[in-house]
């Protein structure tokens, strides 16, 4: 009987998890993923449930489970409005954000 550390048959690249893929195999791994709409939706669903089961669906969930989501939402909205906050208007009308960035 094989001991715990040995793997008798090689696992195909497609089914490996990301941390087990070797660096040379990375492009072929990315190309073999399922990019159809149902595949992408499945990926979002798995990601959602992974986060949910780790932080929220526990016996003594704390407030950090939801504050992490809100913090990500704030960063996401910031990245959206980054371009507009940095638009250069007239000389005496530079945006506050731009001034804080340049002269910090």
């Amino acid at each position: 009987m094989a001991s715990v550390g040995e793997c008798p048959a090689p696992v195909p690249v497609k089914d490996k998890k990301l941390l087990e893929v070797k660096l040379g195999e990375l492009p072929s791994w990315i190309l073999m993923r399922d990019f159809s709409p149902s595949g992408i939706f499945g990926a979002f669903q798995r990601g959602y449930y992974r986060y949910y089961n780790k932080y929220i669906n526990v016996k003594k969930g704390s407030i950090s489970g939801i504050t992490m989501v809100l913090a990500c939402y704030v960063l996401f909205s910031y990245s959206f409005s980054y371009k507009h906050l940095n638009t250069y208007h007239l000389a005496f009308l530079t945006s506050e954000h731009e001034r804080l960035r340049k002269y910090h």
């Binding site: 003594k60 969930g61 939402y73 704030v74 910031y78 409005s81 009308l93 506050e96």
Partner: protein, 226 residues
């Protein structure tokens, strides 16, 4: 400064595509569903709140009016979460757009009125004339009541838009005033900062109250018409 002030109300786009759809679809992610009786803390608190609001809102309706309970409870939850999420920095609040509030108000009001006209037409028409009016005033009063009926969806939409937009604008203005005064005069900065904190508390209250008012008025229109 003028363009800067209203910039946060522009609907966000990614390469021209409306990203506002994504932002409107975000609140349901924060409200999970469950098939168990005993749940985690998040679901338990949310279910308790929902039970509280739905009992409070639907007691005054009869059986026919209570068929609307799913619609009204999801309405108040949507408006409340969207308004509260809009208080976070840099976020976009969909309820500041008049288009969205009109899209919410007009179908709900029209549904309530048409339900009333279809079932009890005499009662529905009787709303146009309050009791005990002197006879010469009747034609004018019917016109006035018709106008006040037709203006209800507009008032619903504009009320929500104006309240949330005005609150956000005030916070922007006073926030930038605090920043500007911090280099000039420190004690007045503290005063203005206190005003900002009070405004934030007010905004949280306004966010919730506006949701409540919207839903309450829709349910009132429903009550009149069932």
């Amino acid at each position: 400064m003028n363009e800067n002030l209203f910039a946060s109300f522009i609907a966000p786009t990614i390469l021209g595509l409306p990203a506002a759809v994504l932002i409107i679809l975000f609140p349901p992610l924060l409200i999970p569903t469950s098939k168990y009786l005993i749940n985690n803390r998040l679901i338990t608190t949310q279910q308790w709140l929902i039970k509280l609001t739905s009992k409070q809102m639907m007691t005054m309706h009869n059986t026919k009016g209570r068929t609307w309970s799913l619609m009204l409870v999801s309405l108040i939850i949507f408006i409340a979460t969207t308004n509260l999420l809009g208080l976070l920095p840099y976020s976009f609040t969909p309820t500041t757009q008049l288009s969205m509030n009109l899209a919410m108000a007009i179908p709900l009001w029209a549904g309530a009125v048409i339900t009333g006209f279809r079932s009890k037409i005499k009662n529905a028409l009787a709303h146009f004339l309050p009791q005990g009016t002197p006879t010469p005033l009747i034609p004018m009063l019917v016109i006035i009541e018709t106008i006040s009926l037709l203006i209800q969806p507009m008032a619903l939409a504009v009320r929500l838009t104006a309240n949330i937009t005005a609150g956000h604008l005030l916070m922007h203005l006073i926030g930038s005033a605090t920043l500007a005064m911090s280099t000039i005069n420190l004690p007045s900065t503290l005063i203005i900062f206190t005003i900002l904190i009070l405004l934030t508390i007010l905004e949280i209250a306004v966010a919730l109250i506006q949701a409540y008012v919207f839903t309450l008025l829709v349910s009132l229109y429903l009550h009149d018409n069932t």
